[in-house]
Homo-oligomer: 642 residues x 2
């Protein structure tokens, strides 16, 4: 579908341009005075946190933002493969896949050797990320991702909607209550930002607070968490435009480096007409700030035109623009426990997203790192609040996501230098850098990081079993479950196994059978299923509440190499009776597809099989041999509460 | 996703079971007194008509139904490949694809030769329709299809919503006004069916009326159109149930024939728990009606249990059930002109869907034939109302769709006999028919008909060029454009060309280039593009209104075998400037994918190339050599108005 031919129009892209009008601003309703979870900020991090909490009827969540309503314009636009996988966990990937402009090529432009005042295409290559995920990297207005998360919240069992027009002012924390999970140790104060009752102050008590309030996070400041890293001395302009140009690669992601005027990065956008340009502006003096330079969009356009010589660029409409400085900073800690946490305080306040890491937007990593931050945190807080898991689970959030933030700023430091023709004063003195080959090499090398698919959490009690990695070399412990298809035994339907990992707080055990027939009672698979179903030390028996469905806490699926099995013969764990009617669930057992064999694709040991244990955030927690039922029990006992 | 575990809940399946509640009944608003198009009935036929009309801001449409609001339960559930292709034309196929239960297998069950009172699986085969379309045959509650069409109407530029609680009583037709297109020759009267103003009569004058009011169509009766065909003497029960069973193929489409008790057909349904059973009931006496037999759902369940012996069937909830008689009838004509139409009256009233053809529901053909009926009619009425086409276009509807209806009732007659163990009194006397092999053969043979993909309209002035069929053997003239992918020149993105054929009333010319480079001015492709862009006899120049975008009436796309072309060199028809800003459209030119070559897949003559002309309903109207610009002009002159 094409959009925005006759001007950019924000809103639901499922509605054609001519009929699309932005939704009315939501009404202002009273803040609750006491909540389990307070989320500050309706960006990707906050909304992902809220989207996840919304699934739990027994958790009271409130999400606030100082803005008057949902975002309409600008900011991030790149939607990585991993972000789309997470949206699939929220059951809404297909709309985003449909609306995003998918990137299949990269082009590299340098000064023409014959006429170096002109640019010339060096070459065009396939996007390096193809094949890393079942999803393709795409670009769309960040607001559409917000919309889908908001819609999911509203359609959930809690019908959660944000409280807009609320600016967080202060957080009062009462550390003596921190280890009492039933307490509300944090008091937040807000002021109204609307015209009706401007400045009116409200307060709310919370059991947990998540600061998703962006780069200038008030939560971070209130928790006295400092930022570490470089300050900026380089500015860029970014603009979403409707333009007429004879530049041939305007619909391809292009890196342009001119000899005399700087660099441009082109990101073609959803709908076939809109395009984003990142334009290199000048170096800043040590004490200069871009916002004080009094530059406007006309300056950005003029600069872009010079860089793109000999091509024309006739800008017809600017949908959104901004000027930013490049700098890379990461928070010293991601929660409110002091370094080392000598008193073993349970963290009760967290920061996520841009509140914890700021950097340049060029890699398209801001949104795509912020959203997984809270996708990591959400299920942990839910499990602790619901009494399903020990609060020590919460201490894994900081290390896991701060590692990613550090990789992010390292990558961004590198990338920012590569795409600029004058990355620093030092280079500027010695002339211009116009080498796009190093950009290309960097992109190829950082492939999995850019796609978000190679993010790997450090070993911990929820990331273990490395000694068994060889049993399934394609499911990397600590990384996300890399989906592959298998056929469902009950009906032959090919299913992406990764799409079973929905964001419902459940753990999953994927059993990959060995060569023995699992109906043979002597087989390892059969004995494992027996253990899970009946043993007193089975984590399923231990952690599933009485009366709940057998898969309510831990969901067991199996892939068997034999394709002539009958569900009936596999026992009630794999063909469970569920719900008020004890209806059978037919969607737990699979066999490999002939032409896309999951054993081969994911390096699963055919003779030994294995168990792959997947966290509620789709990351692989553990790999175990089929016979390792004791270890399985011990693994869950490390953090689950019976 | 799974739905309905704890009981069937109608409504939007994007909302999880626990949060889903049916939408409130829509408010009652006044009927307009004068409309361009009056549609009677909110079934698949009526809604498809309305969905299409809703796209046109200059056409005033009203759709009415006697029911108080949108459908919630029951009726059809099979969504054929072709129906999904049509939904893609309405830009909403992905939600249906996501919600439908996709069928990959068929199973056949007969009396066990050793214990013939029991049934036994004969065999299980792959569904024969795989590969006929880029969509897979699926099943979902008919109401979800209604919802998507209603949503599209409401989101369109006309924001069309139905008028519920209106029963059509009479149609007054004024034949003397029929050839005056500006006149309103039909007056309809309605009575209110709600409790507020029951029986209140309203009238409306219309330029065109479409009777989509089902098997007992009042429109049909008011137009004195009679039904031809068999009456029924056989009854079946159908029920959507949540049940526990040990029947192994409950999640596979299964045909069961028992020796003593009749036949069952199983259709597994969306969400993994729901299942539909068609259950053969007894033969009716000549003057018996099923509705007078006083049978209830308990009788259907009891019968199903007997047929499925030795398996158990424990029905926990019946979501919907019905008993119907088998009979096949088709209307003698589909519009209100008399046979032969000696006065050359312009048809002003039409019937579509079940109003024109009734038959058994077992083939899943009712919905899947009703919806394409009005998909055929909608664009024709729009073109005539907008003054774009001659009213003779309207006379093609009846012959094109009545042919399909006749194939439909022939197929249904055959299928109904095959799936029953006692299809008629004759067979009943001589014992039972328990041969599923003939069902399997029939399904395999009727493959394309069942998928809806082989429907082929008769030769006419909008279905012609058979002498050039050899230029593209895989695009059958009269059949729908069978989509295949090609890479977009501007960005390398693989695109399903068929999905360009949106339901916007536009014609499309697909140019498939020959071996010559299209930038070579001597090449046939270049000359064709020149002709289309500049010649006075170019249909694009003739029929596109001044000031409209160049592709507003006829959209030209091209596939060239050369993949190193530049859009800039191909001329402004294939890289057109559009809209208020004269932005360039980069989405008109393609090249074949290396591994899915459209030339090979669709049998396109590589050395000669061709033009494939596609109607607004995605059916292929004509195939012409690249040099046949005169014929192209003549083709459009046959019905278009300058
Ligand atoms: C101007 C701008 C331009 C950007 N351009 C790009 C780009 O070109 N490409 C790219 O990839 N990324 C870009 N980004 C980055 C990207 O948008 C962020 O990385 C991403 O949105 C971070 O998500 P977040 O949820 O952590 O925070 P944010 O999206 O920043 O959301 C924070 C939210 O918190 C709210 N908030 C802040 N303070 C308070 C308070 N005290 N009380 C209540 N609410 C508060 C804000 O209103 C905001 O809605 C841009 C960001 C900004 C701000
Ligand atoms: C009870 C029943 C069970 C069915 N079961 C199956 C099945 O199991 N499998 C299958 O494939 N197909 C089944 N079908 C058939 C399938 O539903 C139809 O083929 C399909 O819905 C036809 O679409 P339509 O739009 O032509 O008519 P319909 O869907 O019948 O819609 C007609 C509409 O017109 C309205 N209407 C009727 N008269 C008037 C009037 N005078 N004024 C105003 N409005 C009026 C009705 O309320 C209705 O909404 C069943 C149909 C019925 C009625």
């Amino acid at each position: 579908m094409q959009y925005h031919l006759n001007g950019f129009k924000p809103g639901n892209l499922q509605i054609p341009d001519a009929a699309r009008i932005p939704a009315a601003l939501p009404p202002i309703t009273d803040l609750p005075t006491e909540v389990d979870v307070l989320i500050v900020g309706c960006g990707p991090a906050g909304l992902t946190m809220a989207r996840q909490m919304a699934e739990f009827a027994d958790i009271k969540t409130s999400i606030v933002d100082l803005k008057p309503g949902p975002m309409l314009f600008g900011q991030a636009d790149g939607i990585s493969c991993r972000t789309q996988e997470i949206l699939e966990a929220f059951n809404c990937s297909e709309i985003l896949a449909k609306e995003t402009y998918q990137l299949y090529k990269n082009a590299f432009w340098e000064p023409d050797t014959k006429q170096p005042q002109n640019i010339r295409r060096k070459h065009k290559v396939d996007d390096a990320r193809l094949g890393l995920s079942e999803f393709v990297h795409g670009v769309v207005n960040q607001s559409r991702l917000h919309d889908l998360l908001l819609e999911g919240m509203e359609n959930s069992v809690t019908h959660l909607v944000p409280h807009y027009n609320r600016r967080l002012l202060t957080l009062d924390t009462e550390h003596s209550l921190y280890n009492d999970l039933s307490a509300y140790p944090i008091t937040a104060s807000f002021e109204r930002t609307d015209a009706e009752q401007p400045g009116k102050v409200e307060t709310m008590r919370a059991r947990f607070v998540i600061g998703c309030d962006g780069g200038k996070s008030v939560v971070r400041k209130q928790l006295s968490i400092s930022m570490e890293g470089d300050s900026a001395n380089k500015s860029w302009g970014v603009m979403d435009i409707l333009a007429v140009t004879d530049f041939p690669d305007i619909r391809i992601k292009s890196f342009i480096q001119s000899r005399d005027n700087g660099a441009v990065m082109i990101v073609p956008r959803e709908g076939g007409y809109l395009v984003r340009l990142y334009v290199e502006l000048d170096l800043l003096e040590a004490d200069q700030r871009a916002c004080n330079l009094d530059l406007g969009v006309d300056d950005i356009i003029a600069k872009a035109k010079r860089i793109m010589t000999p091509y024309t660029l006739d800008v017809k409409e600017v949908a959104w623009w901004s000027i930013y400085e490049v700098g890379q900073r990461v928070a010293e800690r991601f929660d409110d426990t002091p370094a080392g946490n000598p008193q073993e305080l349970t963290p009760r306040a967290f920061i996520a997203g841009d509140a914890g890491h700021t950097h340049s937007p060029k890699g398209g990593w801001g949104l795509n790192t912020s959203l997984p931050d809270t996708f990591n945190l959400g299920w942990k807080i839910a499990a602790v609040l619901q009494g399903k898991a020990h609060s020590r689970l919460l201490s894994t959030y900081g290390p896991e996501r701060r590692k990613v933030a550090q990789m992010l700023i390292a990558a961004d430091r590198k990338m920012s230098a590569l795409v600029a023709t004058r990355p620093s004063a030092k280079v500027a003195e010695s002339g211009t850098k116009t080498n796009t080959a190093d950009i290309e090499k960097f992109i190829a090398r950082q492939n999995g990081f850019i796609a978000g698919t190679s993010i790997e959490y450090n070993p911990s009690f929820i990331c273990t079993g490395f000694e068994h990695q060889h049993l399934a070399t394609g499911f990397k412990i600590g990384q996300r479950f890399h989906s592959a298809k298998a056929a469902r035994l009950a009906d032959g339907c090919p299913v992406h196994l990764g799409h079973l990992n929905k964001a419902d707080g459940r753990w999953r055990i994927f059993i990959f059978g060995d060569e023995e027939c699992p109906t043979d009672t002597a087989s390892a698979a059969n004995q494992l299923v027996e253990f899970l179903a009946h043993s007193k030390s089975s984590p399923i028996r231990r952690y599933t509440p009485d009366g709940a469905d057998i898969d309510a806490v831990i969901d067991v699926c199996a892939v068997f190499q034999q394709d002539d099995l009958s569900l009936q013969d596999l026992g009630p764990l794999l063909w469970p009776a569920k719900g008020i009617y004890a209806l059978r669930d037919y969607e737990k057992v699979f066999y490999p597809l002939a032409h896309e064999d999951i054993y081969q694709l994911r390096g699963i040991d055919r003779s030994n099989g294995c168990m792959v244990i997947v966290r509620p955030d789709q990351h692989i927690a553990n790999i175990l041999p089929l016979a390792a039922s004791d270890e399985l029990g011990e693994f869950f006992a490390g953090f689950m509460l019976a």
